[in-house]
C-alpha cells in the first residue's frame, strides 16, 4: 500500500501541471444529451453538440443521446428537469447545460472549451 502513495502523488501533480499548462487536448469528454423524443429542439440540440464535438473534440469524446420518454428512470437518476439537457460527466466538474445549445459561447463555457 505504501508504495502506491508516491504513484498517486505523481499522478496528481501530472494533472495539475497539465491544467496549469492549459493543455486540454488529451482530455476525454463523456457527454450525455437528454432529449424528449424527436422534437425540433431535440434535433437542434443534437446537431449543435455534434458539430462542436466534431470540431473541437474529435476522437476524444463520447456522446450518448438519451430519450427520457423511453427511459424515465434515467431522468430521475440524473436529476433532469429541463430538456434538452447536456450533461458533461467528464472531465470534472459535472456540468449541466439546459437548452437547445444555440448559445455557442455558453456551451463552450460549459464544456470548458472557451478560448482564453
Amino acid at each position: 500500500m505504501t508504495d502506491e502513495i508516491p504513484e498517486k502523488e505523481s499522478k496528481t501533480t501530472e494533472v495539475f501541471e497539465k491544467l496549469v499548462a492549459g493543455t486540454k487536448s488529451e482530455e476525454r469528454y463523456v457527454l450525455r444529451l437528454y432529449v424528449t423524443g424527436m422534437t425540433p429542439r431535440s434535433t437542434e440540440a443534437f446537431a449543435s453538440i455534434k458539430a462542436i464535438c466534431e470540431e473541437r473534440l474529435q476522437g476524444r469524446y463520447e456522446l450518448e443521446v438519451i430519450d427520457i420518454y423511453l427511459h424515465p428512470q434515467l431522468a430521475v437518476d440524473e436529476q433532469i428537469i429541463a430538456v434538452p439537457t447536456l450533461v458533461k460527466l467528464l472531465p470534472a466538474p459535472l456540468r449541466k447545460m439546459v437548452g437547445d445549445l444555440s448559445n455557442l459561447d455558453r456551451v463552450l463555457l460549459g464544456l470548458d472549451l472557451r478560448r482564453k
Binding site: A75, I80, A82, T85, V98, S102
Partner: protein, 588 residues
Amino acid sequence: MSSTFAHEVSISPGLAKAPTGIQGLDEITGGGLPRGRPTLVCGSAGCGKTLLAMEFLVRGAAQFGEPGVFVSFEETTQELTQNVRSLGFDLDDLVKQKKLAMDFVRIERNEIEETGEYDLEGLFVRLNFAIDSIGAKRVVLDTIEALFGGLSNISILRGELRRLFRWLKDKGVTALITCESGEGTLTKHSLEEYVSDCVIVLDHRVTDQMSTRRLRIVKYRGTSHETNEYPFLIDADGISVLPVTSLGLQHTASAERISSGIPRLDAMLGGEGYFRSSTVLMSGTAGSGKTSIAAHFAAAACQRGERCLYFAFEESPGQILRNMRSIGIDLEQWVDKGLLHFHASRAAIHGLEMHLATIHKLVREFQPRVVIMDPVGSLTSVGTRQDANVMLTRLIDFLKMQGITALLTSLTSGDEALEQTVVNVSTLVDTWLLLRDLELDGERNRVMYVLKSRGMAHSNQLREFLLTDQGVELQNVYLGAEGVLTGSARQTREATEKAASLLRHQEVEAKQRERVLKREAHEARIIALQKEFEAEEEVAKRDSDQERSREETNRQDRDRMGISRQGDKVLKDAEPSARSHQTPRVRT
C-alpha cells in the same frame, strides 16, 4: 378519529372533493380539496406547508386508498422520511407498499448553464413516471418555486408551470402545490394566477411571545367554504385545524336534567339541577368555594357512571384530590376507575389555540359527558381578553355540539364588578352561579345565588353555604333587617328561633295536658251521674215491684175473699181462653 365530530362534513354535490383526513380541514373546506384539480398552499418558511402536504398524501394513502406522489424540491427523500417519522408516518413502509412514491428534484444553479430555449418536459416525464408507477391519485409539489432559484428564464418557467398545472388537471390527479408567500402577494412568484381552484394560506404569527399557526382558505372555486382564519397546530398526531366556529348554533337542547351533586343546589335550580349539555358558569371571588362545588359536580357525574374531564389550570391533580378529601369528597376512587381524568397545565405554557386544541383532543379521546374547567379566567393571562373570549365561545359551542355539560369557574377579582366575569362569557352560559363573600359582624361568610338559569324556574334567594366534612352544605335562609343573615348572625337567629319554638312547644304541651285532665274530670262526672241515675232507677224499680206485689196480694186477697163468699164463680171462668168459645160465630 374524525367521526367524533357531531357536525358531519357536508359535501356539496357539484364538486367532487378529495378528503384530506386532516383533523378539521375537511370541515372548513366542506369535504376536502377539489378532486382532480390543483390546490395552492402558500405560507412563509416554517409554517407547516410541507407537513400539511405530507399529511394529505399519507392520510390519502392510508385512509382513503389513494396512492400519492411527493415531489420534493427542497428536502431529500431521506430527510423527509426522518422528519415525519416523529409524527408516526412511516414513509418507507408506504413506499414499500406502493402507496407512496417520492422524488427529490435537485436543482443547483451553479451546475446549470442555460444555453438556449428549453422546456420542463423532464419534470413532466418524472412526474408522469412516478404517477404511473403506483397509480397515484394525489400529487404534491413541495416547493415548486425552487425552480425559480435554479433556472433563470422566468418567461419559460412561467409558461411551463402554467402547462404543468394544466397537465396535472388533465391527468386527473388531486394536486397540492406549496409556495412561499410573497410580500403583498400570496406567493412570491404569483403562482396563484395559475392555480385558481383552491388557495390555502398558512400563517405563523408570534404575539406576546406566543406563536400561533393559522390557516385560511382564500379561495375555493365552486364551493362554499369558511373564510375565517383558523388556528391549527402541529403535534404528535400531525396537523389539526380547529374549525370550531363553523359548528354554529345548531346544537339540540336536551331536556334531561343532571344533579349538581349538591341536593339543595339542585333544589335551587328548579328542583332538578342543571340541564344536560348546558354550560354552567360559576364565578366568585378568591376562596369562595368554586373548586369545591365543581368537585361535587364531578363526583356526581362519576356516581352516575359518566366520564368527567377536569381541566385544572391552577392546581395539580394531587392538590385537588387532597383538598377535596378534606371536605369529604373522594375523587380518587373515580380517578382509579377511569371515570375522572385530570388534565392540569398552567395556562401560560401554551398559546390559547394550543389549549383549545388540547381540550379538543382530550375531549375526543376521553369522550366525557361532563367537562370542568377550573378556572377559565386564567386563560386570559395567555392571550388578550378578546382572544380568550373567542376561544371560549368556540369551546362552549364545541362542547354543546358534543352534548357535554360544562362547568366553568371564573375568578372575580376584587376591583371588578361582581356580575362580570373575567372573560365576558356570561352571555354564552346557560346557568350562572355567583359565589360571593358577605362581610357582616366581623365575619366573612360564603353565599351563593343563581344569577341566571335559562329555561328553568330557579330560586332567587341568596343562600349561605358551608364547607363541612361532608362537603358543601347549603344553609337555610334568614333574613334580618340588613338582608340575609349569615354566619354567627344566622346562628344567633337560629338559636333565638329555636328557643321561641321550644317555648311555644312547651305551652302547647301544657295546654294539652290540661285538656286531658279536664276530659278525665268530665268523664268521672259522667260516670258519677250515671251511677246516681242507676241508683235512682234501682229504687224506682224496687218501688214498682213492691207496688206490683202489693197489687197481686190485693187481688189474691180479693179472690180469696170471692171464693170465700162463693159469689163470683163465673168470673173465675171468664178467663180469655174460656171466652174464645164464641169464635165459631165468625166462621159461619
